[in-house]
Symmetry: C2
Subunit: 280 residues, 2 copies
């Protein structure tokens, strides 16, 4: 499998790259960004996955995430995949809405036509892309962590809950924690997976925990001025599931912060330090 280099630039002593490859999972070209810290020149380094939110590509966190200084200090690689397949032939939301279709893959393998052909982001981020990265870059796949924002927080939580041995640590920024109970999730899971809500539970962090999935611990930051807090994000549902399951959840409500990358960038270094401690 070949990887095309879109760009590589020196940044904070390491290299920020953007790459493209033809994905077997999605049937489309897929673009991702990967930061390698200076330590990667001397051998494999731990890898932090960052899954992005609705409307985003790899570029949002790459431009605005302010992760490179901390990754360079801590010796962490940082990978940011795209959020959906893209291309003229890829079906989109029939009304062109931003919360479904392009930019809104929700980290599932769709079972419903016409989305089942390309919208296979679960397979892409859990199988195809990790295999590609492991082969091509100096990363230590025995030391992986995962985080994400909003829809990507949902992705990080569900991927980690279903791969309990893969990640040393898990965190999220303003995640969708119970998609089966909120409008964004109901639209996406219904559209991609169909109306049988039983099939949704494997893509719903709160439901996965209720159904027995476990994490050793979890860090979540959430702005209390986030416009999506009460209707879409509902961290209290994660709190209830974690409490019932005995999962230690550090849920920090951050006063005055909204849903933007200003919020993410503010707490990014904290999260990376938290991951680095667990990746040692």
């Amino acid at each position: 499998m070949t990887i095309e280099t879109i760009s590589e630039a020196r940044a904070h002593g390491g290299t920020q790259g953007v790459y493209r490859h033809n994905s077997a999972a999605t049937g489309t070209p897929m673009t991702f960004s990967l930061y390698l810290p200076p330590q990667a020149e001397h051998g494999p380094v731990p890898l932090v996955w960052y899954l992005s939110g609705l409307t985003c590509t790899h570029a949002n966190v790459t431009d605005k995430g302010e992760y490179r200084a901390a990754c360079a200090e801590l010796g962490l690689a940082f990978i940011a995949p795209d959020t959906s397949p893209r291309g003229d032939d890829v079906p989109d939301d029939p009304d062109g809405a931003w919360d479904f279709g392009l930019g809104a893959g929700f980290y599932v393998d769709a079972t419903q036509a016409p989305f089942d052909r390309n919208y296979r982001m679960w397979s892409y981020v859990t199988e195809e892309l990790p295999a590609l990265i492991a082969k091509r870059f100096p990363v230590d796949m025995a030391r992986q962590a995962i985080t994400g924002h909003s829809m990507g927080g949902h992705g990080a939580l569900t991927v980690a809950l279903r791969h309990p041995d893969r990640f040393k640590s898990v965190s999220a920024f303003a995640p969708i924690v119970a998609p089966g109970q909120v409008p964004w999730g109901e639209k996406a899971l219904g559209g991609y997976l169909g109306t049988d809500r039983a099939a949704w539970r494997r893509h719903d962090a709160a439901a996965l925990i209720e159904d027995g999935a476990r994490l050793p611990e979890l860090l979540v930051d959430q702005g209390d001025a986030d416009n999506f807090l009460k209707e879409q994000l509902r961290p209290e549902l994660l709190r209830a599931a974690c409490d019932a399951a005995g999962i230690p959840l550090t849920l920090r409500m951050q006063p005055g912060y909204d849903h933007s990358y200003y919020f993410i960038a503010t707490f990014m270094a904290d999260h990376l330090r938290w991951h680095a401690e667990r990746l040692r």
Copy 2:
């Protein structure tokens, strides 16, 4: 004079704002961003000016500059003006080139029609905007610093050289140091100021120093993999002028870095610390 708030968001404990106002200098609406650190809640804080490069608006450094963490730590406000007047009625480069006209004001007051009507960025950044900021925000105008990138490095150097009592410290990222001797500068100064090269010297850092302008010291970072290094930036001309004038110049050639915001963001915190020491 009224200022319209485009957006305000909590970031690194302070507030990142974007604002718009009708400029008397340019005759157009002008947008700028201003970060206020947490310390500004308790009283006026020092102000760092950042002048941006060709093609940029306030948004490039606001998104990619990675200045907020250091500003919050050091108690610095950070202002980023636009790089030119904008609007359907504002004349642009006749060929639509990106190195003249919109996004390329070069921090001069144009004397040549049709640009003399709107392209008055010198007056805007040295007079109108400082007065507006002083009136509206909790900044200490007795403690100002200035920096900038590329065309904005040229702006920072020339503004500082011609206002020796205004700024406690001056730095630049990959600045155009001698516009009268390089293609970008010859096009811009010729187009805005006319063919009489004597008029250019007041907008040329190397020439200003040759003509007697002084700074107490100067910090410049320059990537050695910068595509524009040899033809447009030519830091050796600044080195020669500073050496002849006895101006202490710290010129750091940074190996492997290009002209992008990855370079700027890498050294931004260094520059802010350097300014903060001199703003105490």
